[in-house]
């Protein structure tokens, strides 16, 4: 049974659609990383999953409960840390632990105190005097102290120093190994790559990938083709191959292709006008950029309609795409 199950989730705001028919399934005992550029809809999705926001349409289930109708059941089973957690700054570190423990079963407070002690934060310090990183540590400790079935983290490592960040990420792997589930959104793709089992890339409200990390990386290939003439037309790739991104510089073309197998590569290399062909495995960051920058040029042209001379629209689009 999926810990998180999302069906056709749509969230509309005035002026934009944050989510457009998103489907997702997160399996227990996994670390799921949600990637997406700013404004892609990550936080909206997390707000829906944690019962803060009703969706415009579609449904979601967290730990078997509907977050809209049963938010309390969801919150009892979930540990959630927002990107900028707002804690009561007049409380001490110890007081906020005692206060929060009142709403969870026994065992919360000892776990919290252990966690705080490991971070070397004194319990008698006020929250208001803590640094940003220390606050993040307190928030993480509060979210983890009741050993939640599902941990939802929005930019969890921002503000943490490298040592703590590494320790924290390793603990996420440990949690997954213990059968708990972690759902995190992050911009730190290199870190996500180290811990995540499954990756989802959210772009313009659409979840374009929800694939195990290894499968995703295996499926993506960067192909560099040298051609005799810039006007040479390359053959169309058969199904399931999909060209995600292409750039031409003189007589050299750089193409990101998903689901490219060896036979397809050979066929491409032996095509007329092709002088040479090189393939390379891509990092997650490169995959993410390839997935998201396809629309950057379109976005720029959409935002500047008045500045664009209709007679030069094609050039502008190309220039935008090239940039």
């Amino acid at each position: 049974m999926s810990v998180i199950k999302i069906n056709e989730l749509t969230m509309r705001f005035r002026g934009c659609d944050a989510l457009r028919g998103v489907d997702l399934s997160v399996q227990p005992g996994s670390v799921f990383a949600l990637l997406g550029e700013n404004g892609a809809g990550k936080t909206t999705m997390i707000r829906i999953l944690t019962g803060f926001q009703k969706p415009s349409s579609g449904s979601a289930s967290v730990c078997g409960f509907d977050p809209v109708r049963q938010p309390l059941e969801v919150r009892r089973r979930v540990g959630y840390v927002s990107d900028n957690p707002a804690l009561y700054d007049w409380m001490t570190v110890g007081e906020i632990g005692w206060f929060t423990a009142s709403f969870y079963p026994d065992g919360f407070l000892p776990n919290y105190r252990d966690s705080i002690a490991k971070y070397r934060i004194s319990e008698d310090r006020k929250i208001r005097v803590l640094s940003k990183g220390q606050r993040a540590k307190v928030a993480l400790s509060l979210a983890l102290a009741h050993d939640p079935e599902l941990l939802i983290l929005d930019e969890p490592t921002s503000g943490l120093d490298p040592m703590v960040r590494r320790e924290f990420l390793e603990s996420m792997i440990g949690r997954a190994a213990a059968g708990r589930t972690v759902f995190l959104s992050s911009h730190q793709i290199s870190e996500v790559e180290r811990v995540a089992d499954t990756i989802g890339i959210l772009h313009n409200g659409v979840l374009s990938d929800s694939t195990p990390l290894l499968d995703l990386k295996d499926s993506m290939t960067e192909v560099t083709v040298s051609v005799e003439d810039p006007l040479v037309e390359l053959p169309k790739l058969p199904h399931p191959a999909e060209t995600l991104w292409e750039q031409q510089q003189g007589r050299q073309r750089q193409i990101v292709i998903q689901h490219l197998d060896d036979a397809m590569a050979d066929e491409l290399g032996s095509a007329a006008g092709v002088l040479s062909l090189k393939t390379r495995r891509m990092s997650l960051e490169e995959i993410f950029i390839a997935r998201t920058r396809r629309d950057v040029g379109e976005l720029i042209t959409r935002e500047r309609p008045a500045e664009t001379d209709p007679r030069r629209s094609d050039e502008s689009v190309e220039a935008g795409a090239a940039s």
């Binding site: 803060f52 009703k54 919150r75 009892r76 409380m91 709403f103 000892p110 102290a145 050993d147």
Partner: protein
């Protein structure tokens, strides 16, 4: 983070944890509300201490403010509770964190309400206790300027404060920001009063008199009816806000097409720089940052100016006097909240840092924050002036119209203090509550300076701008978020200046008020001390013996016919002087003046003299001589007194003696039977010595008196300095007495040396503030010192003005020495 340390928890435990949840939430809410309770109790205590420490007759304004504190403080708490417990939690986003915990919304909503009601009860108890301690309960409603507030029964205020508290919670839950929530609460809070007004208007004769008890009862009943309604709305709204947010209603294309033709295009992203000057940018920000707030507060202030003018010019307002005054109070509250909005919201330190990071100068940011409010206030003042210059309206209305300068002082002070509070207190809800109270206190302080101490309005307006300077000077620290010693010391300095500067003119006036030169003090003090030490303090008073028959005292009753009146008068004339007036033993003891007894004695003696002039018989002459001898003895014993007032009475008696002894027959009779009488009148030097001793001893003893201690006739009298404002008149009395003493000694010196006494008398005329009377016509003028004049100043009129008959012609009547 290590997963090995995590102990698995049992979800089954949740339902049994109700008590623990309540305890934790109550602890949190109490901790959050405690600062507000302490702050309001502290301010109340401070006001009460000030009131208790000041004399009631001098600080009428402070007293008036103080009398409503027991009502205002709980009301402020009720109004601000929602803003603190809900609005502030929304602003700091802690409510979001709280709602991410597995907590049913009803727990959160209920604990907040329970703690707020508990805090309100504590505030009421504290206010009643403090009010009783300083005796505010004794103040009657009619003696205060806030009679309308006090006319409503305290029980009604109590019920209404619970209603206001619920209104505050409702608007705080409903509104996203704390400030609009506070604004929205006001019309809701006024609902029971409005309904009561409507009830009185529609139920019977609209002109009938409604006493305060009936009014209180109706308001209380309406409030009680409204309580469950607003309570249910509040509870529901709180739960609604803690549940998942419903998605926005996005327009369907079909709906929008018809309207699009009439709607301006969306220009969310400016395509070109709209403003070329920072002023325009700040103006745009201030208006668009809180449009509703600007419109609501600005509109209230503008309408307040019209209402203020109309009270003195529109007769119809008379029926709605209380409502009009209430609206003016509301306008001042709006001015105060405009001040609060200067450094909250977009003016908060954290947001101004955005400007500081971009190199905006503190002065520019400061101007920007005050731009809209200054415009609104200026417009309101200009409107008020324009209305004042316009048609006069109904001239029969006897309501005083506040001057433009006075209104300016009020708004400048209220706005200035409020914007200062908002800079010092970064918490919106707290500053929105504290600012009106501190503004009222500042206004009361400045009013006391004006009303009791006569400080000029122009100077007070200048003082009212001190908080403006304070925020301007602290702006660099504030923008950078550095609230350290420099910021706090600047604020403290400004607070001290605001307290002290209004009274600087008073200090200057006191310092410049005439006094005896220090060299003269040094010279005279030893002599005055010696005279005081040697003085005979056995002073006794003239005894006026009651007549055997009361009817004899009633001989001039208008109801008596002339015959009976003449009979009674003759019987009185037949009495011996010693039967009527007694000069108590020992015979050489100084006499203390009793002007009434002396006046009666002289009247009877005058009658005897007239009787003798008619009868010319020996018995009558003998009685006249007896009277003259007794009165002369009286004057002689008064001269021994060390009180300057007794010397004045002696002067008046001796003037009478001089007039009587102008009769040769009487003089001859006295020369034979009572030669001492003439000797006493001729003793010019003895009279001057007695005057000098009395003046010096009175001055010395007066200077040694405590602040409030007076001995009538030794200390100077307050009416001497009647042009000095009452607030500090007492503080200049001693130095004023010194100056008068110096002038009297100068008069003595010039009189003794035969010089013209006019300059010394002119000096006295100025000192005792008789400038309103022309010197020649006044008590010190020659006209009143003429021996031939039979009216005015001759007897006991102006007896408390020293030296007005000194060295008059009467002093030289029976001696060779002439003036």
């Amino acid at each position: 983070m290590s997963n090995t340390a995590v102990t698995p928890t049992r979800l089954d435990d949740f339902p049994a944890r109700g008590a623990v949840i309540w305890r934790a939430l109550l602890w949190k809410e109490i901790r959050q509300i405690k600062p507000l309770v302490w702050m309001l109790v502290g301010i109340s205590a401070l006001i009460f201490v000030i009131i208790a420490a000041t004399r009631r007759e001098l600080n009428i304004t402070l007293q008036a403010v103080g009398t409503i504190i027991p009502l205002v403080m709980p009301a402020l708490f009720a109004a601000g509770c929602g803003a603190i417990l809900v609005g502030q939690e929304k602003e700091t986003r802690t409510l979001t964190w709280l709602s991410s915990l597995p907590l049913p919304p009803k727990y959160i909503v209920t604990t907040k309400l329970v703690v707020a009601v508990g805090g309100l009860l504590i505030m009421w108890c504290a206010s009643i206790l403090l009010g009783s301690l300083v005796g505010l309960a004794e103040t009657t409603a009619s003696t205060t300027a806030f009679a309308t507030l006090q006319s409503i029964h305290p029980a009604t205020w109590f019920v209404h404060s619970i209603y206001v508290l619920l209104c505050g919670f409702y608007t705080s839950w409903r509104s996203r920001a704390a400030f609009p929530a506070l604004l929205g609460m006001i019309p809701l809070a006024a609902v029971p009063f409005t309904l009561a007004q409507l009830w009185f208007a529609v139920s019977g004769d609209p002109y009938r008199y409604v006493d305060s008890l009936e009014r209180s009862r109706v308001i209380a009943v309406l409030t009680l009816i409204a309580l469950p309604v607003i309570g249910w709305l509040t509870f529901r709204m709180g739960q609604l806000r803690l549940r998942p947010v419903a998605p926005e209603k996005v327009r369907r294309d079909a709906d929008s097409q018809a309207l699009d033709a009439w709607r301006p295009p969306d220009r969310l992203v400016p395509t070109e720089q709209p403003f070329r000057h920072f002023t325009s940018a700040f103006l745009w920000q201030a208006i668009h940052g809180a449009r509703l707030t600007v419109v609501a507060l600005g509109g209230t202030v503008i309408i307040g100016a019209v209402v203020l003018w109309s009270i003195a010019h529109v007769p119809a307002i008379g029926r709605w006097g209380d409502t009009a005054m209430g609206f003016i109070g509301l306008s001042l509250l709006a001015v105060s909240w405009m001040g609060v909005s200067a450094f909250t919201g977009d003016g908060a330190s954290s947001r101004l840092k955005f400007l500081a990071d971009r190199g905006v100068r503190p002065t520019q940011a400061w101007l920007g924050r005050h731009l809209v409010a200054s415009c609104v206030i200026s417009c309101a003042l200009l409107l008020y002036v324009a209305l004042q210059l316009g048609p006069r309206g109904d001239t029969n209305i006897r309501v005083p119209e506040p001057s433009f300068l006075l209104v300016t002082l009020c708004v400048v002070t209220v706005y200035g203090t409020s914007q200062w509070v908002s800079q010092v207190l970064p918490m919106l809800a707290a500053s929105a509550l504290v600012a009106p109270v501190l503004s009222a206190m500042t206004l009361a302080w400045l009013s006391a300076a004006r009303g009791q101490y006569g400080v000029s309005l122009g100077w007070l307006v200048m003082c009212g701008t001190i908080p403006w300077f304070a925020t301007w000077l602290c702006m660099p620290s504030y923008m950078d978020g550095r609230r350290r010693w420099k910021f706090w010391s600047g604020s403290l300095l400004a607070a001290t200046a605001l307290i002290a500067l209004p009274f600087v003119p008073v200090a200057i006036q006191i310092r410049q008020f005439p006094r005896m030169a220090s060299s003269q003090v040094r010279n005279l003090a030893p002599e005055a001390r010696r005279l005081s030490r040697d003085a005979d303090d056995r002073a006794v008073s003239i005894m006026f013996e009651p007549l055997d028959s009361p009817s004899l005292n009633d001989w001039m009753n208008a109801e008596l016919d002339g015959t009976e009146s003449a009979k009674r008068m003759k019987r009185r004339l037949s009495l011996d002087p010693s039967d009527i007036v007694d000069l108590p033993a020992p015979p050489n003891a100084p006499l203390r003046a009793d002007v009434n007894a002396a006046s009666i004695a002289i009247d009877l003696a005058t009658l005897s003299h007239l009787d003798w002039q008619v009868t010319r018989d020996a018995d009558t002459m003998s009685r006249v001589v007896d009277w003259v001898e007794l009165i002369s003895e009286m004057a002689s014993r008064l001269r021994r007194s060390i009180r300057w007032l007794d010397q004045e009475v002696a002067d008046r008696i001796e003037i009478w003696l001089t007039q009587v002894l102008a009769d040769d027959d009487i003089r001859q009779a006295l020369a034979t039977e009572e030669p001492m009488v003439l000797e006493r009148l001729r003793n010019f030097e003895g009279r001057q010595t007695a005057r000098r001793r009395a003046i010096l001893v009175s001055w010395m003893r007066d200077s040694e008196l405590e602040w409030d201690e007076t001995i009538h006739g030794v200390s100077p009298l307050e009416f001497w300095f009647r042009d000095i404002p009452q607030g500090y008149r007492r503080s200049i009395m001693k130095q004023g007495m010194g100056a008068v003493t110096s002038a009297l000694l100068a008069l003595l010196e010039s009189g003794n040396s035969g010089e013209d006494t006019t300059p010394a008398r002119r000096r006295l005329n100025e000192l005792i503030h008789l400038q309103s009377i022309d010197f020649d016509l006044g008590p010190y003028g020659d006209r009143n010192r003429s021996i031939t004049r039979r009216q005015s100043y001759r007897r006991f009129e102006n007896i408390a003005i020293p030296g007005i008959q000194w060295f008059g012609a009467w002093e030289y009547a029976f001696q060779e020495r002439q003036p």
